[in-house]
Symmetry: D3
Subunit: 169 residues, 6 copies
């Protein structure tokens, strides 16, 4: 195969056609991925979310459920992603004064391919749910910095993103 | 209703329980929303995507389909979002040297509620699809700045985010 | 058509074949349905749920989200049900000492057919979610008495089930 | 961990946040669950269903398909349920004079967690489908007594609910 | 716009990018589409299906339910298709000696766009279901001649495919 | 069991009731299925598709994504099909002058049952997507000859349909 512009992008065959990569011969191993992101908002919006936590209007409780359920939908949203039987998901939040909610998703599976996309999808949908539930008071929120911070299991080894602090959960 | 911490968050009833807000009496009007976001990557990754555009390994073609299909899934991903019969979706990309792909989704409907969530979901899933298709060469890509830039139709009037340039599409 | 055993069951045509009944010519009106059900459990299980409400292990918060999302899935679960663009959903719970959680779902739409199935589905899935979250401590819980208690809108008029108390919500 | 009200409910972490429990290290074993429920109706409605069985308006045939398909949707309906690759489903009915249809679902898998939720979901959706197909003649039907009657496989051992007769199928 | 190879294909914008065409300004009218197809099989397989019709192993009953449910999934399967709130579906079969089952789906809606794709999808999935249920005895069945035979409603007027007989249903 | 008309159709139990066949005890093996089909069209329509391939209005690129995603939906569309964790999918096209596009899908898994239905579903939905994207210029296209051409893995051994040429991909 000559270098025709998509070398290295394994979701294309040698004619450049998109495909779901064959992983039949890969081993079943325990795999984990952790992704993070954040929603930037007005301080007053963060205040509303924070108060809801101690009272009852629990934005983050709904966003957590949305994120966990979205992890299970990943294979249906991302065209070339393999369907994966996830074995565990946690979605957590940190309120950062004055203006942001940080989101973390940890996904586990025992299977032939990693769960990066599941973790990233969980973070994104949890963030979009926060947006949805607060948009009546703050239309200008921004979902940002959605990124992979940890990955382990599988042949490619462990990945740790630099300069990420521990959430100690 | 006294101020119990979730005032203004209309996705909660007056006891703080989450609900899908009743919009039965709202008018059917033509509504539009435009959202944007970006995927930050290594310059070499952007180069691969750019070359695929002129050759055949079309990352952005697949991401566009993913974004359009995700707009239709919004009501199933976001817990309190209303199901909406979308009447039109465009997803576009701009390659920004040296290190990013910008994403824009424009969604239209004729209905009782807006399509902000549909546009934001389309952008997010298009961005996640770019991540998925390029992650074999660049694990550290970041999906960022997912935001609403325009909204029109409905009682709350037109919203234009400041400092956004025109994509002239 | 002679009486061949399915007369009155309008989900069959005059040969007895199942169909989705044609409602094209029905008017769009505002419609509402309220359904109720209950989960019977050991008193100790009810106690756990009750404590979670004041602490943070919020079984009912998760079940509420599940019920609301399930209302949106009704047309995909029930074969002959029409897809409906729901305009509002509330799911509520009452803890009844010593051994049960009562569930109520109220669903609204503006459309050509009623939302009884959506309300019943929301109650059922909220109940199943309570089961799922508590089954580690109580396998013998029973989901029961899932029933329609109110229906209004449309040509068939208002229905009120007898001997149902008001939830005053 | 102090006793903060959700002890024993393993779908919460030690801060009370909902999660999908990690089952990565559990063994793949053959597992089975059987659930039952019933739909109570007017005797005339049962008569219609019974006649449809010998004629062609086959309410129970449609409800069976709905139940089997719903078993496959369980992981998408129940927020904290693991996605499961089911390996077999049977849904059966017994007509009980004068006023009820009994429903039984048997689900099997080879995997890391049980299929109780799949069996309970199959019974519930089969029952809701009976309601849907007969509601034009009997709005007051009640779906009741949805319960687990048998469970085997996995570390927690076999469970048999007392006072359940055999269906001999 | 110069002729760049996709002129006339309205699912592409003037740069050739796929999109969901905007139909916001189209009128809501009653629309209907009828599609047909067939499954070719060994005579012995047709015989099994025919006997099942009078006995109980009802392949066609299951295929009918599958076709009706698939019509509701069309907007999720076909990338550029608009989501449509279908108002009625019929799926019918004709056994044609010696070797085929003919399938017909009739779909109706009141909306802004036609239901051709819904009718074609219903026929295809009903046919695939026949294949699935009979493949243990006949692997070489062929699903063929899936086609639109009638379309009415909307601005483009009525279409009738030539040389199609009436099913008189 | 006497011969009651559905003997050999293993998707029915010995009373003729539809079921999802129990495959719990089958071995996990690597399995592959290849299916093919075609869309017959006017030569001018084929010409448009062919030009889009070299320009940018890429009908086949969208149809490929649709086919790959549909393979993952198979277990939700076909009532008695088992959910399968697919490990690889390719969808390819051949343009055949003067009037047809041939479609081929190759699906792989490591599991307890074959992926024939997944391959056939991928071909069908890819074909329906071609229809959808070109229907504005050619309503009379026909999706035909959807068939299994190869199957390997599992106890039933390898199947090769006769008179199929090689696509050499």
């Amino acid at each position: 195969m000559h270098d025709n512009g998509y070398k290295g992008l394994n979701h294309f065959d040698n004619k450049g056609n998109a495909r779901m990569v064959d992983i039949s011969v890969k081993d079943d191993t325990t795999r984990e991925a952790v992704a993070r992101g954040e929603v930037i908002m007005q301080p007053a919006t963060l205040e509303l979310i924070a108060r809801g936590r101690v009272a009852k209007g629990d934005v983050l409780g709904v966003a957590r459920v949305a994120g966990i359920m979205a992890a299970k939908e990943t294979g249906r949203l991302i065209p070339m992603a393999h369907p994966i039987t996830i074995t565990g998901v946690n979605v957590d939040f940190r309120l950062r004064q004055p203006d942001r909610v940080e989101i973390q998703a940890r996904v586990r599976t025992t299977g032939k391919t990693g769960v990066e996309m599941e973790a990233l999808t969980a973070v994104s949908v949890a963030g979009l749910t926060i947006y949805d539930m607060c948009k009546a008071v703050d239309r200008e929120m921004v979902l940002g910095r959605v990124r992979l911070v940890h990955k382990s299991g599988g042949k490619s080894g462990t990945f740790e993103r630099k300069d990420e602090d521990s959430w100690d959960m």
